[in-house]
Structure formats: structure tokens, C-alpha cells
């Protein structure tokens, strides 16, 4: 079979081969490859060439503003204690506000018992669940620190994560900082392993690339830092789901930059079942339509737009092209290729798979280049041969999510937000 395939591929003209690879080039992962390579090369050279202007005497003092960590949770008694322990005491001027969003379990007791034995921990409670956004806004009205850090109650912070995430905020033009969100349970089963590799590549290296381009459009709700004055200027979080991406875009529209702190690492629990993964990804993918295609469409207005910024426009183009157009194009292209080469499907798929795998292997080197735990990340990268199938699976979910959002606005029926709130929120 291998001989047949070699003969078949050698008979193809360069144009035909490019046509074969077109579908793959539309998948998310390869799109960053060339950019990643440039950044990697740049960073490698920066490491090799010593900075002569830099010495201890002129190095700026560490940026140490007051920080308030907001932890909003609903029925999170199992994980809240460990999350609080991973945060408390990791920064000198740190205040923690826990918001119990109408939990029916022991979340409030866990928080209050922690607050009783630890300084600068405040616990807020409301009897009725109102959603994550309003819970964070509730806490925001009591935060007095200069920098607000939002952390999910099921996430753990890595060493010095708070210090790392606030350093980019030394620049007054930067109002939000995205962190590297990594899986906490990478080897629970094959699904979490696949997600781990995806997080390492898309979340870590992908966001690094977007941040360098100035088109980073997401500060993850799991771990993100914001300047409090800017949060108050944009009136905090709007109703979710996808409130983290929405807030990031509103901060960008207000004229501020969004930075990325690769060494501010947060470990979050990723879904362990296919059902939960599908639910999560449908929610994420629907947000592209809700926010980039509807709510913040004005970022793309070229005329009569005083707030027009080319970076924001590029951000929209990036999301429209890769997260909407390419999803449909990928399947249209795949169907067309299947019909055209219906008698050579096995050779077609083998070609695409090998091409994708070779690209993925190059990406493995990039992931390892930015790794701070080489052994763990090397094991994670062993799942690479299965990644093409996983990415196609994610594309199917994206296709469903985008279509249902475009046609039926399904995000406004998501249980992420309580019924009484989602019935009243603005429909974009």
C-alpha cells in the first residue's frame, strides 16, 4: 500500500498537492506555525545575544502594586479550599474576595473557615445565584486594590503566578493580562491528554503569538489580571457566557492593550468526558458569533468610527476568518475533495494525515521550547499522532455551535447563566 501511495503522490503535480493540503492549512494548529517559528527564532536569538545595556543598577525595580484576587464560585466546595491555599501568601500586598454565588453546598463554610484563619480574605455571599459576571461585579464594588485578578474557583496557580501576571501592567497602556492556562489533570484519560496538548499549543504558544501581533482577544476567565480603574471605566463584566472574551474586547475598544504572561501559569480542570467537552466547546465557539460577529461588530467599521484601531480590526478579521469562515470552508473543501477523489480516498486521507503530522511535529518543538516542565510536556506531546483526529472532531463541534448560534442564538439558553438573568439580558 505504501508503494502505491508513493507512486500516487509522485504522480501529482505541485498544484495538485497544494490543492490536497488546502483543507489542512485551514485547521487551527498549522495557522500559527509560521508565526510561531518566527517568534521562536526571535526569542532564541534574544537568548543568545546578551543585552549590553542591561545591568543590575539600571534594571527597573519589580512592579508591586496592591492586588485583589476575585474568586466567584457556585457549588465549588470541593475545590475552593485548595484554590485559596494556592493563592494566599504568594504576593505581599494581596487581598482575596470570595463570592459565593448562591451555592447549596458547603462553599460558604469552606470560604468563611479559611477567612477566619487567614488575613485579608473577605467572603461575600448572596442567597440566589445570579451568574459569574454579576458575582464578579459584586466583588469589584468592594475591591480597593490597584490590580484585580480573576481566578476560577477550580483552578490552581503556579509558582509566582500573581507576580508574573501583573508585571506587564507596569505599562500604563496595558489594562489586561492573559495567563497561560494549562490542564491540571492531563493524564486522567486520553481525552484530557488530547486537551493537554491542545492547551499547550493553542493557549500557550498561540496566545504568545497573538500577543506579539497585538491581536490577543481573550483573557481567560480562569486566570486574568486587570487594572481596576479600567474595569470600572468599562463597568465590569457583562452577562455571559463568554464574558471573559467580551470584557477583553471592550477593554481593547477602550483603547488599552492586552498582554500575555507565559510564565503566569494556572492549572485548571479540563473536562474528562466527551459530553462535557462538547458542552464546553459549543459554549466557547458560540461566543465568536455573539461577540465578534454581533456585539462588537463596530470594531470593524472603517468609516465614521472614531475608535477605529487597526489592531482591533485585525483581531476581528482573525476571528472571522479562522473561527467562522474556515470552519465552513474546511467542510466544504473536504466534501468537494471527497467527491472529486472518491476512488482514491485512502490515499487522500493518508496524505493529509502525514502532512498534518509533520506540521504537528514541528509544533512539538515549539511547545517544548517554551516549556518550564520539560519532562511533563514531553509526555504530553506523545499524543501528537492522534491530534489530527481530535482537531477534526473539534471542527465538527465548531460547525454545529456556530450554525446554531447564527440561526437560533443558542447561547441565550445556556445554563451557564441562571434563567431569570438570561431571560432579561441583551440579545445580540
Amino acid at each position: 500500500m505504501l508503494n502505491n501511495w508513493i507512486h500516487w503522490i509522485s504522480d501529482q503535480t505541485p498544484e495538485q498537492i497544494l490543492l490536497l493540503f488546502g483543507a489542512i492549512l485551514l485547521i487551527d494548529s498549522p495557522r500559527y506555525l509560521f508565526g510561531d517559528l518566527i517568534i521562536c527564532l526571535w526569542d532564541s536569538l534574544a537568548r543568545l545575544i546578551p543585552d549590553r545595556n542591561r545591568n543590575v543598577a539600571t534594571a527597573p525595580a519589580p512592579y508591586l502594586p496592591s492586588v485583589c484576587v476575585l474568586l466567584a464560585g457556585h457549588n465549588e466546595s470541593d475545590t475552593l479550599g485548595a484554590t485559596l491555599s494556592s493563592i494566599w501568601g504568594t504576593y505581599p500586598k494581596l487581598e482575596i474576595i470570595v463570592i459565593d454565588d448562591g451555592s447549596q453546598d458547603n462553599t460558604h463554610q469552606v470560604a468563611t473557615s479559611f477567612a477566619a484563619t487567614h488575613q485579608d480574605v473577605m467572603v461575600l455571599r448572596r442567597s440566589r445565584r445570579g451568574g459569574k459576571s454579576s458575582a464578579l461585579n459584586f466583588a469589584l464594588s468592594y475591591a480597593r486594590a490597584e490590580i484585580i485578578v480573576a481566578v476560577d474557583t477550580d483552578s490552581h496557580l503556579g509558582p509566582n503566578a500573581i507576580w508574573e501576571i501583573i508585571q506587564p501592567l507596569r505599562d500604563p497602556g496595558t489594562a489586561a493580562v492573559s495567563a497561560a492556562v494549562l490542564p491540571r489533570n492531563p493524564f486522567t484519560n486520553m481525552l484530557t491528554w488530547l486537551q493537554s496538548y491542545e492547551y499547550f499549543h493553542s493557549t500557550l504558544v498561540g496566545r504568545l503569538f497573538s500577543a506579539r501581533l497585538g491581536t490577543l482577544s481573550i483573557v481567560s476567565g480562569a486566570f486574568g489580571a486587570f487594572r481596576r480603574s479600567v474595569l470600572q471605566q468599562v463597568s465590569g463584566w457583562d452577562v455571559g457566557p463568554g464574558e471573559d472574551g467580551d470584557l477583553t474586547l471592550r477593554i481593547r475598544k477602550a483603547g488599552f492593550r492586552v498582554a500575555f504572561a507565559p510564565f503566569a501559569q494556572c492549572f485548571t480542570k479540563v473536562p474528562v468526558t466527551w459530553k462535557h467537552l462538547i458542552q464546553q466547546r459549543r459554549r466557547w465557539d458560540r461566543c465568536v458569533v455573539t461577540y465578534e460577529c454581533r456585539k462588537h461588530l463596530d470594531m470593524g467599521y472603517l468609516f465614521n468610527n472614531h475608535n477605529f484601531q487597526i489592531r482591533n480590526f485585525l483581531t476581528l478579521l482573525d476571528r472571522w476568518f479562522f473561527n467562522v469562515f474556515c470552519v465552513y470552508a474546511f467542510f466544504a473543501y473536504g466534501i468537494w475533495m471527497t467527491i472529486t477523489l472518491s476512488n482514491q480516498l485512502d490515499k487522500l486521507f493518508l496524505t493529509c494525515y502525514l502532512f498534518y503530522l509533520s506540521i504537528s511535529l514541528m509544533q512539538v518543538f515549539l511547545v517544548l521550547f517554551y516549556s518550564i516542565n520539560l519532562r511533563r510536556d514531553l509526555i504530553v506531546c506523545l499524543i501528537t499522532p492522534l491530534m489530527p483526529f481530535y482537531h477534526v472532531f473539534l471542527k465538527v463541534i465548531s460547525l454545529i455551535a456556530i450554525t446554531e448560534e447564527l440561526l437560533w442564538r443558542r447561547s441565550f439558553q445556556d445554563n451557564f447563566v441562571p434563567v431569570h438573568v438570561r431571560q432579561k439580558t441583551w440579545r445580540w
Binding site: 468563611t112 473577605m122 467572603v123 461575600l124 455571599r125 448572596r126 440566589r128 445570579g130 451568574g131 459576571s133 454579576s134 461585579n137 459584586f138 469589584l140 464594588s141 468592594y142 463597568s235 465590569g236 463584566w237 457583562d238 452577562v239 464574558e243 431569570h420 438573568v421 431571560q423 432579561k424 439580558t425 441583551w426
Partner: protein
């Protein structure tokens, strides 16, 4: 209810419905074992004068008794009727007349009521709150009630378990207060959560002269419940620097001025006295 002695009822069974006035006057011959406890002038029981006997007849007004004594009884007595083995019911009696029957027996006729009736009043048997000392007590009757308890007419029944001052035992007053300094003067934040835009802010920010409006999305004429909800924010102590949502219950004794957390106060059980009353209607001809 079972009685130890069979009764002989002399009634006209042909009349199905007996008029009430007739029933009240009708006597019923019934021989039941009783104990008579004389009531002294200070309302205390005369333990030494306790007499056993039997009933001769009952009516709704009173009772005729054969008693195994020759001594003269006080005018006010308590009758204890054993309606079940070991269980007694009691009623106050006013002795009308006493007639010797044999050298060892007398026959008395008594009506229900008399000065001993006061012992059976609920107000007499329950403790009252004295506003001077802020304590529950039975006043001057406490010793009297104990004596009646000792002779088996009254028995104690738990009424409640209350928190009292751990210094003086008085009843304290309670309020939500600061867990640090115990002050009850707390300032509470009133916040509003607007559902549409998730904005949470002080209620005063939503107040406009015309209506309630959201300062974030500028929507006007908001309706509570449908568009927004009130949230209870944190409380700020006006005396110390404490702020938070978890206030504690603070007890303050008005008698001695002691102030502490409510859970630090002592617990005290309070009792009332109970009496099993004999109902004359139980022995009526139609009972």
C-alpha cells in the same frame, strides 16, 4: 378510661336526650377510691391531714364522700381520684357539711371550687417575666408550688430553654452585631443587581428623580424582581474597622450590662407546673 369500681347509674334510658339543666342536677352513685388533701389557710397542703376514702355519689356540682377519719377537715380541700393505677386527677373542693357516720368514718358533702381553685389557674402555674430583674419566676408562690409538687398534685413540665446572662442570670436582649467589638451599630450596604447587564452597584446610583435607572446601560423604569434584585452587601462597624457579611448575634444584659456573643450566654430551662384536672362531666350520667 377504666375505673376500678363498677358504677350503678340510675337514669331513664328511654329519654335519649337529657336537658342540660337536668343533667347538671342529677346525682350518680359511684364508688371510687379517693384521697383528700386539706388546704391550709396559706394555700399549702396539710400533709399530715391527708385522708383516704371513697366516693358515694357524684353530681356536676359536687361530690359526697366517705372518709376514714374523725378529725375535722379544713373548708377547702383537694380531691385526688385514681382514675388509672398510679394516675390521679385532682379537683378543688369546698366542704359544705361533715357528718360522722361511724367512730372512724365521716361523710362529707363538698362542691367543686373554693379558694383552692386558684392553684389550678394557668397564670398561677406558669412563670412570669419580672421586668425589674428580667428573670422568669413564680414569685412568692414558688415554695407553695414546690410543696404541691411534693404531695403529687402538681408536676413540672419543661416550658422552654432560654439564653440568660452568664453573669447574673437575667434575660438579655439580642441584636446582630460586629464580631470584633460587639457593637450593634452597623451600616449595611444596599446594592442592586441589574439582570440585563450584570451591573452591581449601590442602590443610590440607580435612583433618579423619575425612576430607577441603570447607570451602566442607562435603561430606565426598572422593576424590582423583574429587572433587578436587591443584594445585601457588607456591613461596616461604626465603632471599629470591621467589615463583612457575617455578623454575629450579640447579647446584652439590661440588668447587669454584660455584653457578649449570644453563643457565650448560659442556657436555662424554664418549667411550668401542670395538674391533671378532674372533670366533673366525666362522671355525669351521660358520660
Amino acid at each position: 378510661m377504666t375505673f376500678p369500681v363498677t358504677r350503678t347509674v340510675q337514669t331513664d334510658h328511654s329519654a335519649r336526650i337529657t336537658p342540660v339543666s337536668e343533667r347538671m342536677d342529677r346525682k350518680q352513685e359511684l364508688r371510687l377510691s379517693v384521697t383528700i388533701i386539706p388546704v391550709l389557710s396559706d394555700m399549702s397542703p396539710d400533709r399530715s391531714g391527708r385522708v383516704d376514702g371513697y366516693t358515694r355519689s357524684f353530681s356536676h356540682k359536687g361530690v359526697i364522700l366517705d372518709l376514714a377519719t374523725r378529725q375535722k377537715l379544713t373548708s377547702s380541700v383537694i380531691i385526688a381520684l385514681e382514675y388509672q393505677p398510679g394516675h390521679y386527677r385532682h379537683a378543688p373542693l369546698e366542704v359544705q357539711c361533715s357528718t360522722p357516720v361511724t367512730p372512724q368514718h365521716i361523710c362529707i358533702e363538698a362542691h367543686y371550687g373554693g379558694v383552692a381553685s386558684e392553684l389550678f389557674q394557668p397564670t398561677f402555674l406558669r412563670p412570669t417575666l419580672d421586668l425589674q430583674s428580667m428573670r422568669f419566676h413564680f414569685g412568692k408562690h414558688e415554695t407553695l408550688l414546690t410543696q404541691w409538687e411534693q404531695v403529687g398534685v402538681l408536676w413540672k413540665k419543661p416550658l422552654d430553654c432560654i439564653q440568660v446572662c452568664n453573669k447574673c442570670g437575667s434575660l438579655p436582649t439580642f441584636r446582630k452585631g460586629c464580631p470584633q467589638c460587639g457593637s450593634g451599630y452597623l451600616l449595611n450596604d444596599r446594592l442592586i443587581h441589574h439582570y440585563s447587564c450584570a451591573h452591581v452597584g449601590p442602590a443610590v446610583d440607580f435612583d433618579t428623580p423619575e425612576s430607577i435607572s441603570c447607570p451602566k446601560c442607562l435603561v430606565r423604569n426598572l422593576v424590582v424582581g423583574a429587572d433587578f434584585e436587591h443584594l445585601t452587601g457588607i456591613c461596616r462597624c461604626n465603632r471599629c474597622s470591621w467589615s463583612g457579611q457575617d455578623t454575629v448575634s450579640i447579647a446584652h444584659c439590661l440588668h447587669c450590662g454584660h455584653r457578649d456573643c449570644a453563643d457565650q450566654m448560659s442556657h436555662q430551662e424554664i418549667f411550668e407546673y401542670h395538674v391533671e384536672q378532674l372533670d366533673p362531666l366525666d362522671f355525669g350520667p351521660d358520660a
